[in-house]
């Protein structure tokens, strides 16, 4: 059956929407009735899901909520806010030297895609969008660090502020890496865990570097 040998479907087919475990509470009627409910309910449900995932990132435990009901809203919001905050704030950004908005965007999304592909190629069992979701959500501590850095820079740009910024960024970098490793490392074969964790480390290191070297004009 030579023809059938070619029909090897990849482990996952990228689908849009939720990958939910079929639990009894999800009856077919609920899916149809979202058309009838007020828009506020629909939005609040999604917002609550995003908020719950933020909480799961800040307190990484072995919960599967991040993995099961993936969404990319949180990562998008985080990425856009991080890229906006990394802008120098000056209109003439020609000799700014810092990363442009597009560069930050590309680094985060392209980096997350590459890391996901890497972990799948190494034999990971996690799905493509689940991994993107986890990597994107774990940028949250670094976004908080960026916020703190900007606030500290408002107060002054001396050595003390640099030390404070350095410590904050270092702590948040560690938090991000540990959070994403906690979620992603389980889906890897045990003798390749380090091979998967290292690119994640590099990814958050680059983002931390961009945050730490941010200098306003």
């Amino acid at each position: 059956f030579p023809g059938l040998a070619d029909v090897s479907l990849p482990q996952d087919i990228p689908v849009e929407g939720e990958i939910t475990v079929p639990v009894g509470s999800h009856s077919p009627d609920e899916d149809y009735s979202t058309l009838d409910e007020p828009v506020k309910d629909t939005i609040m449900r999604d917002l609550k899901a995003v908020g719950k995932k933020f909480v799961h990132v800040m307190y990484p435990r072995k919960s599967s909520a991040l993995l099961r009901d993936w969404d990319l809203w949180g990562p998008l919001v985080l990425c856009v806010s991080l890229a906006l905050m990394l802008q120098g704030g000056s209109a003439d950004s020609k000799d700014d030297g810092g990363p442009q908005f597009a560069e930050v965007f590309v680094i985060i999304w392209f980096g997350a895609v590459v890391i996901t592909l890497n972990s799948k190629l190494l034999g990971g069992t996690i799905s493509f969008f689940q991994s993107l979701c986890v990597l994107g959500y774990c940028v949250l501590p670094l976004t908080v660090a960026m916020l703190v850095c900007r606030l500290v820079l408002l107060a002054g740009a001396g050595t003390i502020s640099f030390i404070i910024r350095f410590l904050v960024v270092l702590a948040m970098f560690g938090w991000s890496t540990l959070a994403s490793t906690a979620f992603l490392a389980d889906s890897q074969p045990p003798n390749r865990k380090a091979l998967v964790v290292y690119p994640i480390f590099l990814f958050y290191f680059v983002i931390s570097w961009m945050i730490l070297t941010f200098t306003p004009q």
Binding site: D95, G97, Q100, G123, R192, L195
Partner: protein, 306 residues
């Protein structure tokens, strides 16, 4: 009768029963094609391992070439095809890195470490790490060099990351491509004992770049002598890995061409190192006190006019 039988729909027995009846029949299994060639590959490698790695690699290289081709039998548009290039464990990657940093004289990196299991993990992530290490180290080094100056305003120089990425990835992938093409061309003219597949060349180049990562970090030290000593040292290490890999492949060729090939490999490698040092790391210059110069000019002009 036979024709009528053939036209009728025939029931086929279970595969096991048919195979029991006719053990030599060809069978096609729809399992992972990677599993079976691997076992054969490891069995055939056993007698080859005791020999000298670089010399007399005739049977070894032929068989490993064939089996390397057999391993990647999934069509290239499926995901499984690319998965075969990431079939390495952590300890294997670490071993390969160690082999590139501590080259054993006389041992061929490809034969010793890669052994027909070239991976793309090492080359890709070593290049990515090198890109960011060079950019970050260059930025840090410039910061420390210009630290005291009042006119200096720190910029993260983020554009250099994209330049570093282009340079290093182009070097790590296009030069192996050119080298592979060249070796294939020479192979068609002169029968070489040792020949490498494209992925093995990419692998060697990728792992040989690893020694530049600690070198780039140490280049932060703003002393010219230190930097050049580091450069020569790392060039010797990674260059020797490359030379020991490719010398057996061109040795049987015309003497001049062999030397020219190895010379070009080393030259390009050196150019990469020198270029990176020159572009990303500012020279630690000595500041000349500025006010003295106009006074000299003034006095010379006055004296000359007399």
């Amino acid at each position: 009768m036979a024709a009528a039988d053939e036209l009728k729909f025939q029931e086929f027995d279970d595969a096991a029963n048919l195979l029991a009846a006719n053990p030599d029949a060809t069978t096609i299994s729809i399992d992972e094609p990677v599993e079976i060639p691997k076992n054969q590959h490891s069995r055939l490698q056993e007698p080859g391992r005791e020999e000298d790695d670089e010399l007399l690699g005739t049977d070894d290289s032929d068989k490993t070439e064939l089996l390397a081709g057999q391993k990647k039998s999934a069509p290239f548009w499926t995901f499984d095809y690319y998965q075969t290039f990431f079939d390495v464990d952590t300890y294997q990657v670490l071993d390969r890195i160690k082999g590139s940093v501590f080259p054993v004289p006389g041992k061929n990196f490809v034969r010793l470490y890669i052994r027909s299991n070239p991976d793309l993990y090492g080359p890709f992530w070593i290049c990515a790490t090198l890109v960011f290490t060079i950019a970050v180290s260059g930025n840090l080094s410039n910061f420390f060099i210009h630290l005291g100056k009042p006119t200096y305003h720190y910029v993260p120089e983020f554009k250099k990351v994209s330049i570093a990425a282009t340079t290093i990835y182009a070097y790590a992938w296009l030069v192996p491509l050119a080298l592979w093409g060249f070796l294939m061309w020479r192979n068609s003219k002169v029968m070489n004992i040792v020949s490498y597949s494209f992925l093995e060349i990419v692998c060697v180049y990728g792992y040989s770049l690893f020694v530049y990562i600690p070198t780039a970090i140490l280049w932060i030290i703003p002393q010219k002598v230190v930097r050049w000593v580091l450069m020569v040292f790392s060039l010797c290490l990674s260059g020797s890995v490359l030379v020991m890999t490719f010398w057996p492949a061109v040795r049987d060729d015309n003497r001049r061409i062999a030397l020219a090939t190895v010379g070009t490999i080393l030259l390009l490698h050196a150019l990469l190192a020198v270029g990176c040092l020159a572009y990303f790391f500012d020279a630690p210059e000595l500041d000349l006190p500025a006010p003295i110069i106009p006074a000299h000019n003034g006095t010379t002009v006055i004296t000359k006019s007399h």
